[in-house]
């Protein structure tokens, strides 16, 4: 009974998705799945984050802003798509591999660290950004300058985040760790002194600190507790797309658009801008 009901729900869901695919994919063969729906080179679907200011954020007026969005737009332009031909799709962390493997999106630009485990399932282009695990504290708080200072302090991160576990198990075992559903909840606590520090990739932290409403309230401590190479995720084995995206990224760095995008989106809040990383994937 339980199974049959679940199966019924799934069947409806599958039927719905089939109809959706049928509408979009009828004019194209399966090879271009996700890449274009409708006429030739009509639309390109790109996976981004919806809830990370400075990187990928859906704003109240339905627009998208952030560094990942700028990179995605630039790459899409190099692939021959105008901004109005790009369709953004939310790619939450746990779903990125599935979205790519199912062909729901052409590529994913969503704070996606390149690592070997992920490379078993998808291929990457880039990296296009080098991030480090860092701490965000209140602008007037000078008591935290290194990870060990977090002992006896209140630290916040999101549920299941590896960066928080890093600090807790290795660097500052006496830190009081609060796990929240999202970074914005942590920020509320940080602003109101309910927590003392927030830890994750410095790009994400800088994105929050650079928001208009947060200007001057927070600062990055400037640590490099880890190295995270952000890559653009794409379907495994699609060498052609990988080469094209790598070329686009290279051009973006060379013509200065890359630096401009970094400054615009992550500039404020004591973010130490590093030069773009060398492209290592697919070579």
């Amino acid at each position: 009974m339980k199974i049959s009901k679940a199966a019924a729900a799934a069947a409806i869901a599958v039927a719905l998705s089939l109809t959706a695919t049928a509408c979009g994919g009828s004019k194209q063969d399966a090879a271009s799945d996700g890449g274009a729906s409708g006429g030739a080179k009509d639309k390109i679907v790109v996976g981004i984050k919806y809830d990370q200011p400075g990187l990928g954020l859906k704003t109240p007026d339905g627009k998208y802003t952030g560094f990942d969005v700028d990179v995605a737009t630039y790459v899409a332009k190099e692939l021959g798509y105008q901004p109005d031909q790009i369709e953004f799709k939310q790619a939450v962390s746990a779903e990125r591999e599935n979205l790519i493997a199912n062909g729901d999106v052409k590529f994913v630009v969503a704070t996606y660290s390149i690592n070997d485990k992920r490379k078993e399932k998808v291929d990457f282009a880039g990296p296009y950004f080098l991030a480090h695990q860092d701490l965000l504290v209140r602008a007037d708080d000078s008591s935290i300058t290194k990870a060990e200072d977090l002992n006896k302090k209140k630290l916040c991160s999101v549920t299941g985040s590896t960066s928080a576990q890093n600090v807790k198990t290795k660097l500052a075992p006496e830190a009081d760790l609060l796990e929240q559903g999202g970074y914005s909840e942590c920020l509320t606590g940080l602003e109101n002194k309910a927590v003392d520090a927030l830890t994750t990739d410095n790009s994400i932290l800088a994105g929050y600190a650079a928001q208009e409403k947060n200007k001057g309230k927070f600062k990055l401590v400037g640590l490099s507790l880890s190295n995270e190479n952000y890559g653009i995720g794409l379907k495994k084995g699609d060498k052609e797309l990988q080469t094209k995206i790598n070329a686009a990224l290279k051009k973006m760095v060379e013509d200065g658009s890359w630096q401009k995008a970094v400054d615009k989106n992550l500039g404020p809040a004591n973010f130490k801008s590093e030069p773009a990383p060398q492209i290592t994937e697919g070579s």
Partner: protein, 224 residues
């Protein structure tokens, strides 16, 4: 199939102990708060009646999830009210209990109020004829009989409360549902076994409560 339990990585009993503690503290708190609310709702002072009615109608129509998250994000994270908790673990537990009391109190109040209605009119009239005040009528004559009549409905509220403690998972209190979520993510291949363990845990918590209080209800019922 159940070998993931041997690793010692998951403290299932500990998580259920937190569930039990959440239930007990919230049960005592909501019994007190619900009685106060019921007293307000039947009191001769119009203002108190109005407050009781408004509180019950507002809180009962709000999701418990919102109340608990409001306690965490609003009271603790924004306003800095930590209820004396030193660590996030302590604070989270107390905030969850506060949210559960605020919510469950309304159900206790409504159960009591319907219990008050089962006390025959003659009881209160006789008490008033003796010259007892409202407070005396309520505490000496009506409530003792009402409580005996509402043991069964209150048992239902208690069982619902036991299940509702899982909402504390939304603010990271390490109770049963949160551990189940974690285990389902880490031990995906043993999904059905994990679910069976936690389902059994809740059946074991709620079934005896229902049976025992059902027996109590029959024993204490006022024979009329």
């Amino acid at each position: 199939m159940f070998d993931f339990l041997d690793s010692g990585q998951y403290d299932v009993l500990g998580a259920f102990w937190v569930t039990v503690q959440l239930t007990l503290y919230s049960a005592v708190g909501s019994l007190i708060w619900g009685t106060v609310l019921a007293g307000m709702r039947v009191s001769p002072v119009p203002l108190l009646r109005g407050f009781g009615t408004a509180y019950v109608n507002l809180v009962r129509n709000t999701p418990l999830t919102l109340l608990v998250i409001g306690c965490s994000l609003g009271l603790s994270q924004t306003l800095g009210i930590n209820l004396g908790g030193d660590t996030f673990k302590e604070t989270g537990f107390r905030l969850a209990v506060l949210g559960l009391i605020a919510y469950t109190g309304t159900f206790v109040c409504e159960a009591l109020r319907s219990g008050i209605n089962t006390v025959p009119v003659g009881q209160a009239e006789a008490a008033r004829a003796l010259g007892l005040s409202f407070f005396q009528v309520l505490t000496l004559i009506v409530l003792p009989q009402a409580f005996r009549a509402v043991v069964a409905p209150l048992a239902n509220v208690l069982i619902a409360l036991t299940k509702n403690t899982t909402v504390a998972a939304t603010i990271g209190v390490a109770e049963a549902a949160l551990l189940m979520k974690e285990m389902m993510e880490n031990e995906a291949q043993a999904l059905f076994a994990v679910f069976a363990i936690f389902a059994l845990g809740f059946v074991l918590l709620t079934l005896p409560t229902g049976l025992f209080l059902g027996w109590v209800a029959k024993r204490v019922a006022v024979k009329r």
